[in-house]
């Protein structure tokens, strides 16, 4: 069970670029979208799987493992790539993306792929599931952590706030939630659709230990997430607001509303791969 891989920081930066490149290739090939949503969370996932979480890809169901829940399931192309690069399954399987009866659909399915912990797709489900897992871990006396990544638009869902109350009420200091704060949701900017700010104050008032971090600064992400993992604020669940850019890494996708749903054309793919240095 490892918290940190032997890969260097340079290698992790390369994994981030390769993950974005693969997301582009997969979404271009299958005509699937959510590229922007997958891009904004890449560093968060790489930090978790290569530097922060206790995992053993050879034993993906170990009861001692940390758990990661992708509550914003639509960005799963990113999760599949990071799981493959972390060794949960061969990278060759990424070619199964959206293929008939294969394990890698446009939303993740825990029955189909090693390392996928829950079925997600509809928003606002991850945090309640994480609470159940965190309660079970405490009951079993296991020193494990439950991580859950939510989109910022997802915070419009009422169940997020039901769960926000409950996690603090049950003093779940083994639960760490992360918000991918890219500022855009399907139809508009988050603050146009439904005001979220002041977001940190909201979570603080709900009784959470809150940190805000640049969600593309791998070093800072590792630092903050590790601290939350190893020395949690007693009796308080942790919340990391990761300030990100939707479509991060490809200039013409960055912070563009359209890249929630846009499907990369051959030209988009070519330009994108060039910018990522992954032709």
């Amino acid at each position: 069970m490892n918290e940190a891989s032997s890969k260097s920081d340079d290698q992790l930066a390369r994994i981030c670029a390769q993950t974005r490149a693969n997301i582009l290739r997969m979404c271009h090939k299958e005509g699937m979208s959510h590229v922007g949503s997958a891009f904004s969370m890449v560093e968060i996932l790489v930090a978790l799987y290569f530097r922060v979480m206790r995992i053993d890809p050879a034993d993906p169901k170990s009861p001692e493992r940390d758990i990661f829940i992708l509550s914003k399931g639509h960005s799963c192309a990113g999760l599949y790539n990071v799981l493959a690069q972390a060794g949960f399954f061969p990278q060759g399987r990424l070619g199964e993306y959206c293929k008939f009866k294969k394990g890698m659909g446009g939303h993740p399915d825990l029955h189909m792929l090693p390392g996928v912990e829950v079925c997600s797709g509809s928003l606002g489900h991850g945090l309640p599931l994480a609470i159940g897992m965190a309660i079970a871990a405490k009951r079993d006396g296991r020193d494990k952590r439950i991580f859950v990544l939510m989109g910022d638009g997802e915070l419009d869902e009422g169940t997020v706030w039901e769960a926000a109350m409950a996690a603090a009420h049950y003093k779940l200091d083994n639960l760490i939630a992360i918000v991918d704060r890219n500022g855009l949701q399907a139809d508009s900017r988050t603050e146009v659709a439904m005001s979220l700010e002041p977001l940190d104050a909201k979570w603080l008032s709900f009784g959470w230990n809150v940190e805000t971090v640049d969600g593309h600064d791998l070093g800072r992400l590792v630092e903050v997430l590790r601290k939350m993992r190893q020395t949690p604020c007693p009796d308080k669940p942790g919340l990391v607001i990761a300030k990100t850019v939707k479509g991060k890494g490809v200039s013409f996708m960055e912070d563009q509303q359209a890249w929630h749903f846009n499907k990369p054309t051959a030209e988009d793919l070519s330009k994108g791969l060039e910018e990522l240095g992954c032709q």
Binding site: E117, L127, A134, R139, A166
Partner: protein, 320 residues
């Protein structure tokens, strides 16, 4: 094998399904350390469990959807969570969580809705639960059980403890007449024959089964042998078990505290539609919001009471 039960004939013998639920939970709590109980501010009847096993009980507040998600998270971690609150609110408010978190993930969450059917009569349609069975049975991986009395509710809950997949058990509220006189064999999916059938078979579940039994007795006095079968499991439903339970009867009358769409009557009609020679009459709430009224008044309103059932069957037999 056919499952049979002996009918209690003493109307003063009563029992509470909610209390029976808790009795079963207390037994389960002592033998299975993985049993958890969650409620959403409706835990009066499970207080003994909460007192006995406080570290395996949680009242999540008035937040049904969150409760279902938490239960699914517990089940994904190997626990055996029971969740309970008002049936109408639990099944409809948290329907998507029940579909995605429980049934799609196929985890053994045990969903116990109380105040089923018309048992909250005067509280009105917000609290009437006459859509829940139809919704629950339309979701893959779900098993749906509607016990008829406290004895059966306890048996259903005990059967649910180690049940490997999602299960919805819909119970009543308060004291209700006991239907079974003594112990009997209960098995999920197997209907229980209470009176054998000749011309007609009444298939029912929940407390309204008492009206079917009374109607059967009244018809017997008129020389009509109408059998009574307790179809406690609405899903899965075995065609062979339903055919066997109907015996010689070719007129099947279903009776349920539910919309006549999508519930027991629909399930029976679906399996018998593949067979030749059955006529199926569905009694229940006729696809409307019921008015304010006691359970008995509502039974009468929709001809679900024994007189209504007798009238309906008599007119069918005259026309046949």
């Amino acid at each position: 094998m056919q499952y049979t039960g002996k009918i209690n004939t003493d109307p003063t013998v009563m029992g509470s399904m909610r209390d029976a639920f808790c009795e079963a939970l207390l037994e389960a709590g002592s033998t299975s350390p993985d049993v958890f109980v969650l409620t959403a501010d409706q835990g009066k009847s499970v207080k003994p469990f909460a007192k006995a096993y406080p570290d395996r009980f949680a009242d999540v507040g008035i937040a049904e959807a969150n409760m279902v998600g938490i239960a699914a998270g517990l089940a994904l971690s190997g626990k055996k969570p029971f969740i309970t609150t008002i049936a109408a609110i639990l099944m409809l408010r948290a329907c998507e969580q029940i579909k995605d978190d429980v049934c799609y993930q196929n985890v053994p969450v045990k969903i116990v809705g109380h105040g089923g059917g018309l048992s909250y009569g005067v509280l009105g349609p917000t609290h009437h639960s006459v859509e829940d069975v139809g919704i629950a049975r339309s979701i893959p991986n779900m098993t749906v059980v509607v016990p008829a009395d406290a004895r059966e509710a306890k048996k259903a809950v005990i059967a649910a403890i180690d049940y490997p997949s999602p299960i919805y058990i819909r119970i009543g509220t308060g004291n209700e007449q006991q239907i079974y006189a003594d112990d009997y064999d209960f098995r999920i999916e197997e209907p229980v024959i209470l009176r054998p059938s000749e011309q007609v078979c009444i298939m029912a579940n929940s407390h309204v089964l008492t009206e079917a039994i009374k109607a059967s007795q009244m018809l017997a006095e008129k020389g009509v042998q109408a059998g009574v079968v307790n179809v406690h499991t609405v899903k899965p439903m075995s065609k062979q078990s339903i055919i066997a339970a109907a015996g010689k009867a070719r007129i099947i009358v279903t009776l349920e505290e539910h919309n006549i769409l999508c519930g027991l009557g629909s399930a029976v009609a679906e399996v018998l539609s593949e067979e030749v020679g059955y006529r199926i009459i569905r009694l229940g709430v006729p696809d409307c919001f019921a008015p304010i009224g006691s359970r008995e008044e509502l039974y009468k309103e929709y001809k679900m009471d024994c007189q209504g059932i007798v009238q309906r069957i008599s007119s069918i037999l005259k026309g046949a």
